[in-house]
Amino acid sequence: MSLFMKRNKPGVVFNTQILWRLNSTVAENKDEEEFRVLDILKKKDSRQKRIVRRAEVAPDRAEKMPTDQNWGNVWPGPRSFHPSSVPLPIRQGYVPKGQVPPGKKANAELMKIPNFLHLTPPVIKRQCEAIRKFCTEWPKLLNSEEAIDKHYPVEIITSDYCHASPTIRNPMARVVTLRIKLANLDLDKHAKDKFLRLVGDRYDEKTDLVTLTADRCPLRKQNLDYVNYLLTAAYHEAWTVEEWEKEKMEDDMEYYVWDNNQSKRNLIDWYHRVSGTEQVLSDEEYRNYDISSIPHAKEYKEAVSNLFNEGESEETIEKYGGTVRKLLGLPERTV
């Protein structure tokens, strides 16, 4: 009713039944007091006229805005663009050269694009100030990557997902990845070998990282427990020595160990023969013989091991040849 009264001059009496009827036909009788007569033959001159009453649209809110207002209160949250609330002369749209792009009113393109009118710098500053009290100080001792690696060797990687749907749960959020440097695990030679066999291709030689990923359980907590269990189980399993592992022969070795092989015996025998101190050694003595007394023996050991473990290549062959020359006291290759 108040809406109606505002739009009409005071003093004019209207039929209160028709408060608001737009695009409707209203009989405009000269005498409003009279009852309307049913005019079947349309004899009367006064025809029913169609009157379109337009709503008087209030002026834009943007025009009344003071220049020193708090914009965060005008546009508090994410919202589609509305031309009446934004006091900016914006235009958007592609037009041929020489024409003016469509203005901000009745411009669907402006309504489509996401805007950041609710995230102006002062608003962001205010929000940051508001949540500052929930922040805690970063521990002073954890000031570098090395310190973090040292105190927290186990790295747990999970992902949170933002997406639009009636539910906020994303099944991909359950995946948990555990990373740890192999050097951080307390393993001896046998245990390390066994551990690497257990983890298989989850170990990356370049970065020395063991990566365990679990996505078999429906919840993140369960997967986290599972990767922890996997690491624990693999570690303890690596330390156990089974009875049958003692039966491992030289043929079963998966890589070339110079200390166990004929090459070392030949080198020691040759050295003794050359230096004139020939002696008979047992297998155990051969294995534990300290080769640092023989000049260039360390390089020779490396060269032979590389040749067997990495395979024949130009580099390994050349290195092998060079060390043998040094060992035998021959001059360097000149070609």
Binding site: L22, V57, P102, A106, A108, H163
Partner: protein
């Protein structure tokens, strides 16, 4: 469709066992690669009104005009693709039917988390009271159907002529 063709082929091969008859049953013609969807023909009098959306054919999406639906389902590895597409279509039809003859633009649907924001340009042809009613009515019903809070963000214009971009 495919299975029926397959059966047909099976039957034919069972009866005739020759490919000559089979090939004679298919009439093929070269495909007419003329794209007509989303494009409007020029009238003789050049008096057909087009909005900005209609004036730019679909291949200008992301160049001259943007998408009408904004959601994460259409991204790579997005969830609920069919559901989102179907819901968007439903929202468009519901809006066009509820605000019958009043919608002057495409229905723009933006989804953020579980919040659906529906934007449109509406003609001021009904009283504000009716508009407020329709607003609440649409929001309430769609929120119930889609299980999400729905917000209508409407802009009003005087008549359809306000959104006309050009005449062809």
């Amino acid at each position: 469709m495919n299975s029926s063709i397959f059966k047909l082929i099976q039957n034919v091969s069972a009866v005739s066992k020759s490919s000559a008859i089979l090939s004679s049953q298919f009439h093929t013609s070269p495909a007419l690669c003329r794209v007509v969807s989303g494009k409007y023909r020029i009238t003789k009098k050049r008096d057909k009104p087009l909005t900005y959306e209609m004036a730019n054919p679909p291949h200008y999406i992301a160049h001259r005009k943007t998408w009408n639906s904004w959601n994460t389902s259409s991204l790579k590895d997005g969830l609920r693709r069919p559901e989102t597409a179907l819901e968007d279509e439903f929202i468009r039809r519901f809006m066009n039917g509820t605000w019958h003859g009043l919608v002057c633009s495409e229905i723009i649907i933006k989804r953020q988390f579980n919040h659906i924001r529906v934007a449109a340009i509406i003609r001021r042809a009904v009283s504000p009271t009716k508009m407020y009613f329709l607003l609440g009515y649409s929001e309430e019903l769609m929120a119930n159907w889609l299980h999400c809070p729905v917000t209508l963000e409407l802009q009003t214009v005087d008549s359809f002529k306000d959104v006309v971009f050009k005449y062809i």
